[in-house]
């Protein structure tokens, strides 16, 4: 029953996107956000949509994963669309009913915002689908390292993040074990009554909390025992290194960003 939980939804494949440095991917996401912000003319929408579709195809990940990623935000998407549909004022009135006015501009604006959100969500889910959670954490740590000068505890934050990620599978295993144990003591987790079904989880959650706290205490002892101190000058087994592929990706993205910027500014001037 717990088996279908996939942590960090990483999907192992051999693709260009999987091989990219996590830092590149994080920076690319940041650039992409700017890109989406600058979307203006129809041609820019076409370019960026093609870019995203191309990335999706490169990742070798089955499309069903992306569709699954979009399902949870379906409500937000439809709400945003309706909001723009009714509240955008324009010139070409299409439909009128009492206070409701629907303009052509409203439909276009709704579609634009919808497309922007979908593109952003697809791109970010591409990051989590092609990068292991720990790699993302390490990438973030490396990118944020300059913040240390401002006395931001970057390493402690990174350690916290990687410990949290590392122990999710362990805790799920533990959860599975406790559920089995209580099931064999007669708990029915598929009980007819909804209230009973919820209260049935008390004998699962209490032992789980207890063992988690105990584990955390042991872990902190183990960290102390190895004389770990805020991770200063730590070396890593796996080091991140930019390859030519990473430089190429970033330069192409920057190029697209600049050209879109130019198009927008140029478009206004012309």
């Amino acid at each position: 029953m717990i088996e279908n939980v996939i942590i960090g939804q990483y999907v192992a494949r051999d693709s260009i996107l999987h091989r990219l440095d996590p830092r590149t991917k994080l920076m690319a996401i940041a650039i992409f956000m700017l890109l989406v912000f600058f979307l203006h003319s129809y041609i820019s929408y076409v370019i960026v949509t093609c870019l995203v579709l191309g990335c999706l195809a490169c990742s070798k990940i089955p499309p069903s994963f992306f569709i699954k990623g979009l399902l949870p935000i379906l409500f937000i998407l439809s709400f945003t669309f309706v909001y723009h549909l009714f509240l955008t004022k324009g010139e070409n009135l299409i439909f009128q009913f009492g206070y409701l006015h629907i303009y052509m501009e409203g439909i276009v604006e709704g579609c634009r915002v919808l497309l922007k959100i979908v593109l952003l969500v697809l791109m970010t889910s591409l990051l989590t689908l092609t990068t292991k959670p720990l790699d993302i954490a390490y990438g973030l740590e490396t990118i944020m390292r300059p913040l240390k000068k401002l006395h931001v505890p970057v390493e402690q934050f990174a350690l916290m993040l990687s410990i949290a990620l590392r122990f999710i599978p362990t805790i799920i295993q533990e959860l599975d074990r406790i559920i089995d144990a209580q099931r064999s003591r007669g708990v029915q987790f598929d009980h007819k009554s909804k209230v009973k079904r919820i209260t049935n989880y008390i004998p699962v959650i209490i032992p789980l909390l207890l063992t988690s706290i105990q584990r955390a205490e042991n872990l902190s002892l183990a960290i102390d025992a190895r004389a770990y101190r805020d991770g200063r000058d730590r070396t890593r087994f796996k080091r991140l290194k930019f390859k030519s592929l990473d430089y190429w990706t970033l330069s192409i993205l920057l190029l697209v960003l600049l050209s879109l910027l130019f198009l927008k500014v140029g478009g206004e001037v012309l």
Binding site: A12, D180, A181, R185, G186, P203, P207
Partner: protein, 291 residues
């Protein structure tokens, strides 16, 4: 109650590697009523999975279980049914304790099965004795007990449901030798009292020879041997070694003596009390020769 497994196969789908792994392959065996059977095998050989299949917590991909000749079927929804006659004590069972008092903890299983309160309290008083604790423990908080006491409470909570077959998955892991002995002794008494069946999963070969009448050896999900401990440990040593399994101290002693003297000492069983007197008389005899 006799438990029979017929051609059990269990496949596990791992979402992380997206592969189907065969954990158990074509296992057929019969656990006779009232017997003490030990299951041994390396870590990852499928012992714990087999225990869950025996209780009905996991449903075999292929094959079926019968109890006293009656086939165990899934319920109407096609979900596995947990056999009420089989009790399963998991590894580190103290991790599943959650109630505020030992009595409430013991009452948890029976309450789920709809017992009356009086019956629960009566049974709790019996069971707490069985596991070597006394009635004063019933009002204590299970979380304030020592590791060994918690383990006993957890075993008691399974015994509360009056199982006819008790499966224990490494019940003595992490306990001191004396505590280990006394827990196993308590279980042995419980077995003798009611003609119950005990299935013990363990890595302690010395415990196997002290209690088991039969041993099941699992290796990579396959049943390799089901035989009595004496012939297993004395005659199949090489096979066991190739599976990464050790043999008990008494068997090592007997085999060492056989190597030196060229003759096998005849013993009734591999229990320490059966082997040591025989070995001692032999040693005494030899000392007279040297003198």
């Amino acid at each position: 109650m006799e438990l029979a497994l017929e051609h059990i196969q269990y496949d596990y789908y791992s979402p992380a590697t997206r592969e189907v792994k065969q954990v158990l392959t074509d296992i057929s065996c019969t656990i006779p009523s009232g017997a003490w059977v030990s299951i041994i095998g390396q870590t990852g050989s499928g012992k714990s999975t087999l225990a869950k299949v025996m209780q009905g917590l996991l449903w075999p991909t292929v094959g079926q279980n019968t109890m006293d000749g009656k086939l165990i079927k899934p319920n109407k929804k096609g979900k596995p049914t947990i056999s009420p006659d089989v009790g399963l004590v998991f590894q580190y069972p103290e991790h599943q304790l959650f109630e505020t008092t030992v009595l409430k903890e013991l009452a948890f299983g029976p309450r789920n099965r709809g017992w009356y309160k009086d019956a629960i309290v009566n049974k709790a008083q019996q069971v707490i004795d069985l596991v070597g604790l006394d009635a004063s423990y019933l009002e204590k908080s299970p979380l304030h007990l020592s590791g060994g006491e918690k383990r006993r409470v957890a075993i008691a909570s399974v015994l509360m449901l009056e199982p006819k077959i008790l499966i224990l998955d490494e019940p003595t892991a992490g306990l001191d030798p004396l505590g280990r002995q006394s827990i196993l002794q308590n279980i042995e008494e419980w077995r003798r009292q009611g003609n119950h069946t005990v299935i013990l999963i363990t890595h302690q070969m010395n415990d196997v020879v002290e209690y088991a009448e039969e041993v099941i050896v699992l290796h990579k999900g396959k049943l390799q041997f089901q035989m009595n401990p004496m012939s297993l440990f004395l005659d199949k040593r090489e096979e066991l070694q190739s599976m990464g399994l050790d043999i008990p101290d008494t068997a090592k002693l007997l085999l060492a003596i056989e190597k030196v003297t060229g003759q096998r000492i005849q013993v009734a069983s591999l229990k320490e009390l059966d082997v040591m007197p025989q070995v001692l008389t032999l040693l005494k005899g030899r000392r007279y020769q040297y003198d």
